[in-house]
Symmetry: C2
Subunit: 99 residues, 2 copies
């Protein structure tokens, strides 16, 4: 078996730390969106808010550009997350429909 | 136009802060993987490392479970990121092929 070069090990340690941070931040983000879902249901607000989503896309694209990340990737990333949020909301709705 | 309730505004502020953190951490992660790509090319190491990827999946699933995030989502998330990393590496290879 080939030995992993020291420099590669160091980069992988950074990547592992960054991944742990991403997972924990995502967990917290879904805690927030779960609360948003409950609040919207309670106040009978519509689930989707296209104006808010438009603003989020523009903001994340600008943040991505500023940090040298592909803005198209940032937008795809937001869409990926929002898809999961919608899946959560649907699951919650389905569950409360059954209750 | 409906006024946004205070509680919803507060949750959205948290989501916006978390999103900014995610974008910046992702930008740093791609800085690292770019260096990994260059290092692997220089040392003529294979681009893919299935054993490393297997370990990353297991680790992220465990971190997700511990932070109450769906481990399947964490795995999908890693796959989403790795797909982008491969796209970057291909672009770099193509560019150096042209040079």
């Amino acid at each position: 078996m080939l030995e992993t070069p020291c420099e590669l090990e160091a980069l992988r340690s950074s990547i592992d730390n960054l991944d742990a941070a991403l997972i924990h931040i995502l967990a917290e983000r879904f805690r927030c969106t779960r609360q948003v879902g409950e609040l919207k249901a309670r106040l009978q607000l519509p689930a989707a808010d296209p104006a808010r989503e438009e603003k989020q896309i523009e903001r994340l694209r600008a943040l991505a550009t500023a940090s040298n990340l592909d803005p198209d990737f940032a937008q795809k990333f937001l869409a990926f997350i929002i898809k999961e949020v919608i899946r959560h909301h649907d699951a919650v709705r389905e569950q409360s429909g059954k209750a």
